[in-house]
Symmetry: C2
Subunit: 260 residues, 2 copies
């Protein structure tokens, strides 16, 4: 039974894609069989994995659009390897942009992704979902399919303020479609030289002490370089600060989700 | 006749809201009568203007939801002052999240915002539209209402790669609903000590030489502080680097849109 973890926050640019790829790589290094799924029509995760989002034979858009079961041909071909053994990707492309609008018209669309992913539940130990910066139909599907959600939070004013909104949505999903959903908060892009950053982290750790992860991901310019190379930062720069922090995160996630 | 400028980029966290507020303040300082409009259900612009998005009597969601003309009562009360004379705001709140889904069912929804804003076309010289990090119905409305679009671009890989997508959408809007639309690119969050930043800026200036604005907005931590105070950075820290850069941007925008 795969452990499904959604990486979600409606605030833009808080390191959702970076965390999905880096945490995925950290978990693969620990011997887990990992699938990362790109649910953003920007296809940043797909690009970060070294793929060309304009040249894919199949993508998540095909699976979501198909009526009923996923065609066997698509299911076999849609998953791509990455530069890291044990880490696979289910890519996205531009066609995903039109999917959200179609989903609204389907009854119980929230369960669609869970159905699609169930095909691989004995193939992968962990499935990570990279969500777009919004709380629309695609994110609701991800939160319905997931057992856990990791919300990257940049230590800045808008991101911290937007947390209550995200917590409300998670609460609504728990009430309506997924009672077991649990949320963790992850401080990202942390710059300890910045006074605001330090203050906001302190406040987050006090207010959200039971959901805040201990691992804090520091600023590291190697994370801007690794997507250009199309490989996870753990391979691109194995001993850089970000690689250490995301390895620590992988360990913490294994412990925190052990009750699965 | 108001000059309408949309601030849009589907990539998250590239300083759309920061640019909308700071450019608005810069244009107000030049004596323009300015209205900034919050079109993001995160309501970051509303918060940056010192308002409480959970305590608004009216918001943009009311205007968009109303059938036909805006009720006179709402139109009079929905626009709020900011800390800066000559700068007003049309705020957003959480209810905007449900609007996008309703819009899709209305024929010609793209023109709805232009109709609403026409009520104030002799009141304001410039109207700036802060868009959410997506290319859905709300952004399409903004691009249809606008005469110009300023796209903030962070000098990082995903943002630069996503530009072609944004340019395609602007092209599609020009073909379908708004032939006069013109786009400008603005480099934001620029860190000249970072090698990737310098490389990507150089490439943007070469590839997009006719649309790239000369003004580059440098990194400045005062921009993280001013939203907490609820005032534009030009008031919060008048001589800081960001204030100088956004004043220069206001001058450049006045020149570049003089043909209006
Ligand atoms: N710890 C870090 N240090 C330095 N740069 C980082 C770090 N984490 C992420 N970044 C950079 O910040 C930018 C935003 O990150 P990313 O694209 O992962 O955010 P996102 O939340 O997925 O954005 P979106 O809302 O558009 O999906 C990227 O350029 C990324 O390389
Ligand atoms: N020049 C700058 N220097 C330092 N920080 C900045 C600068 N511009 C913006 N920021 C900070 O970066 C963060 C993201 O900016 P902002 O929220 O304006 O982006 P956005 O594109 O509107 O995000 P979203 O996609 O969520 O709407 C904010 O914390 C803001 O204060
Ligand atoms: Mg992303
Ligand atoms: Mg914004």
């Amino acid at each position: 039974m795969s452990k499904i973890i959604a990486i979600s926050n409606q605030k833009g640019g808080v390191a959702k894609t970076t965390t999905c790829m880096s945490l995925g790589a950290g978990l693969a290094e620990l011997g887990q069989r990992v699938l990362v799924v790109d649910l953003d029509s920007q296809a940043n995760l797909t690009v970060a994995a070294g793929l060309d989002d304009e040249a894919l034979a199949w993508s998540i858009a095909d699976l979501l659009a198909a009526e009923g079961d996923t065609p066997a041909e698509a299911a076999e071909a849609v998953i791509c390897p990455t530069a890291m053994a044990g880490l696979k990707i289910l890519p996205a492309d531009l066609r995903l942009a039109g999917t959200e609008r179609l989903l609204y018209d389907k009854p119980d669309y929230e369960f669609r992704l869970a159905e699609i992913l169930s095909r691989w539940e004995n193939v992968y130990d962990i499935i990570l979902l990279d969500c777009p910066p919004s709380l629309g139909a695609i994110t609701l599907m991800a939160l319905t399919a997931a057992r856990y959600v990791v919300a990257p939070v940049q230590c800045e004013y808008y991101a911290a303020r937007g947390l209550n909104r995200l917590l409300d949505i998670v609460g609504a999903v728990k009430d309506r479609t997924n009672p077991d959903l649990r949320i963790f908060l992850l401080a990202t892009l942390y710059d300890q030289r910045n006074k605001i950053c330090r203050e906001i982290l302190g406040r987050l750790q006090t207010h959200f002490s039971d959901t805040m992860l201990k691992t804090v991901i520091g600023i590291d310019t190697r994370l801007r370089e690794s997507p250009i190379a199309g490989v996870p930062v753990l391979l691109y720069a194995p001993s850089t600060r970000a690689s250490r922090h995301y390895r620590a995160l992988a360990q913490e996630i294994m412990v925190k989700t052990a009750d699965h």
